[in-house]
């Protein structure tokens, strides 16, 4: 049945015609962002809606473009380090880590073991704090307000630890080429251990609030689906792709730091939906906490090692190119550096995980509702500082 025939009053009088002939519905275009409470910064998603169902999505980025890559070409290698903090500003250590690894690879510097442990510890603390912020905002997006403040309570503890180490809480710049800026201060290990002991209990609070909450399940299960294959094809990496059953974690596949020396488990879920990505990140936080404990064990036992390698005063890598990547909280963070033998990089390219992850958003929200877009953006955890660079 294609049409409903019926009598219609027209200018020629009563005429029998298809009643549905003139009921054309047009989709409505809605700008979500760049100023929207839950696009996490200046992301702009343009949605074509039919009712509340999405028929088309287009993503516009670049509102936070600060030209870091061009900037790098006019800064010396150590000078560029603080700039990397501003990429993913909520996980600065991880950003530093990727950069120093690339420079060290280019120069062939071997980092002392103690420095590696400190770096790993910091990177994992950063991962916890980043995931905490993610959980907080993601839950807030879906409407669970209390989780937000609980997460911030624990994140505050981590930021206090960062402050102890280097004086800064957000843009830390604690790493140096060849090691870290200074050794851990007195009392840090005790305080950090205290956090690691408390954290699993606190994480249970979040579970109590949302893990089995029916509304949470209804909002996340089977929402924003993406299969592993599609995800890889679209450049998805990190926890987001592990939520689609792909066993790929750079900490395992190309271990750096001391990830091959500590015991932990890769978090993988098969759900392919928002809930699976949520579970992956929750597990990752717990695993990170485990890694931190082991790093602390080592650092406590042996406090004699160097915290920085012998590095020339002027960093002048030989001509060549190098690509180093780390598993940042959002996914594969890579730095590709081309050196022409001078003190400044000839070309530096940042492979930002959020930039690549964002590409799968249109695929995820195909045919979904407006509310699902929010859940999807939250579940891939974008940070616009990193997307736009």
């Amino acid at each position: 049945m294609d049409e409903i025939r019926g009598l219609v009053v027209t200018e020629e009088g009563l005429v029998e015609q298809d009643l549905m002939r003139d009921t054309l519905t047009k989709e409505m275009w809605v700008n979500m962002g760049p100023q929207h409470p839950s696009t996490h910064g200046v992301l702009r998603v343009v949605l074509a809606l039919e009712g509340e169902r999405i028929v088309d999505t287009e993503i516009y980025i670049g509102y936070l473009h600060r030209g870091f890559e061009k900037f790098a070409e006019s800064k010396t290698y150590p000078q560029f380090l603080p700039i990397t903090d501003r990429l993913d500003y909520i996980s600065a250590h991880a950003m530093n880590y990727g950069y120093v690894l690339a420079v060290e690879k280019l120069m062939g510097i071997e980092v002392p073991l103690r420095a590696k442990y400190i770096r790993t510890l910091m990177a994992e603390l950063t991962r916890i704090s980043s995931h905490l912020l993610w959980l907080a905002t993601h839950a807030l997006d879906i409407g669970a307000m209390t989780v937000f403040l609980y997460c911030f309570r624990e994140r505050e503890m981590i930021l206090d630890l960062f402050e102890m180490v280097c004086g800064a809480r957000l843009t830390t710049s604690y790493f140096r080429i060849g090691g870290v800026a200074n050794d851990l201060p007195d009392g840090f290990i005790e305080k950090c251990r205290e956090f690691c002991n408390i954290f699993p209990q606190k994480a249970k609070d979040y579970d109590d609030l949302i893990l089995k909450n029916r509304i949470w399940l209804a909002r996340t299960i089977n929402v924003a689906n993406i299969s592993g294959e599609e995800g890889l094809n679209l450049g998805l990496s990190g926890p987001s792709i592990r939520g689609s059953g792909v066993k790929w974690d750079i900490r395992v596949s190309e271990p750096y730091g001391v990830y091959d020396k500590v015991e932990w488990e890769m978090a993988v879920e098969d759900g392919c939906d928002v809930y699976a990505r949520y579970l992956v990140r929750l597990k990752e936080m717990r695993e990170s906490c485990k890694i931190c404990q082991q790093c602390l064990d080592f650092l406590e036992k042996d406090d004699s090692g160097e915290f920085r390698a012998k590095v020339p005063k002027v960093i002048k890598p030989p001509e060549g190119e190098a690509y180093a990547c780390v598993e940042a909280p959002k996914g594969e963070l890579g730095f590709y550096i081309v050196s022409d033998g001078s003190t400044k990089p000839y070309r530096l390219k940042i492979r930002a995980p959020s930039f690549a992850n964002l590409m799968s958003l249109p695929k995820m929200v195909e045919g979904a509702l407006v509310a699902d877009v929010i859940a999807a953006i939250g579940s891939i955890d974008v940070v616009l500082g990193e997307v736009d660079r």
Partner: protein, 172 residues
């Protein structure tokens, strides 16, 4: 007595003015607002006449439900067209016919009222004893049960029809 009469006249005038506004405004939403206020004024008249239940239902069904649906439709129409409701005169004949019919109907009712004084289903004394709502309920479920059920079936049919139409559009 005079207070009630005064207010009756006042509300009657207001309702008439609002009704005129309703059909003369070009902006559909403004018409809708005027219509809604006319409904509320009508409810006030009912209250003055001592038919509180009718007044409440008037507001609930017309000013609340029907108006919300009307606004819903107006809002769903494309934004630049919703202001200008297209005026065609294709329905003049039908409209005139319906209008005449309506006038005749009301005239007959009023005339009957003058002719037979007590046209209500219940005598005034009965009403006073039971209270408005209860009296209406009693009459509806005893004397007028059959018409009541017929009306229900009619509404049910309309509802089924609406669902069929909506479903049809969804499937297409």
């Amino acid at each position: 007595m005079n207070w009630a009469n005064l207010f009756f006249d006042l509300f009657a005038v207001i309702v008439v003015i609002l009704s005129v506004i309703t059909i003369t405004r070009r902006n559909a939403v403004h018409s809708a607002i005027a219509l809604m206020m006319a409904f509320v004024g009508l409810a006030a008249i009912y209250v003055i006449l001592g038919a509180e239940l009718l007044a409440a239902i008037q507001v609930l069904v017309y000013a609340g439900g029907v108006m919300a649906l009307m606004l819903f439709v107006i809002m769903s129409v494309k934004s630049d067209e919703q202001n200008q409701v297209k005026q065609t005169h294709a329905q003049t004949l039908i409209a005139a016919f319906v209008g005449v019919l309506f006038v005749v109907e009301i005239g007959v009712t009023v005339w009957m009222g003058f002719l037979y004084k007590n046209t209500g289903a219940l005598a005034k004394s009965q009403l006073a004893a039971m209270g408005n709502t209860e009296a209406l309920g009693t009459v509806l479920f005893t004397k007028f049960l059959f018409p009541f059920e017929v009306a229900s079936v009619l509404l049910l049919a309309a509802m089924v029809g609406a669902i069929v139409l909506a479903k049809y559009k969804l499937e297409r």
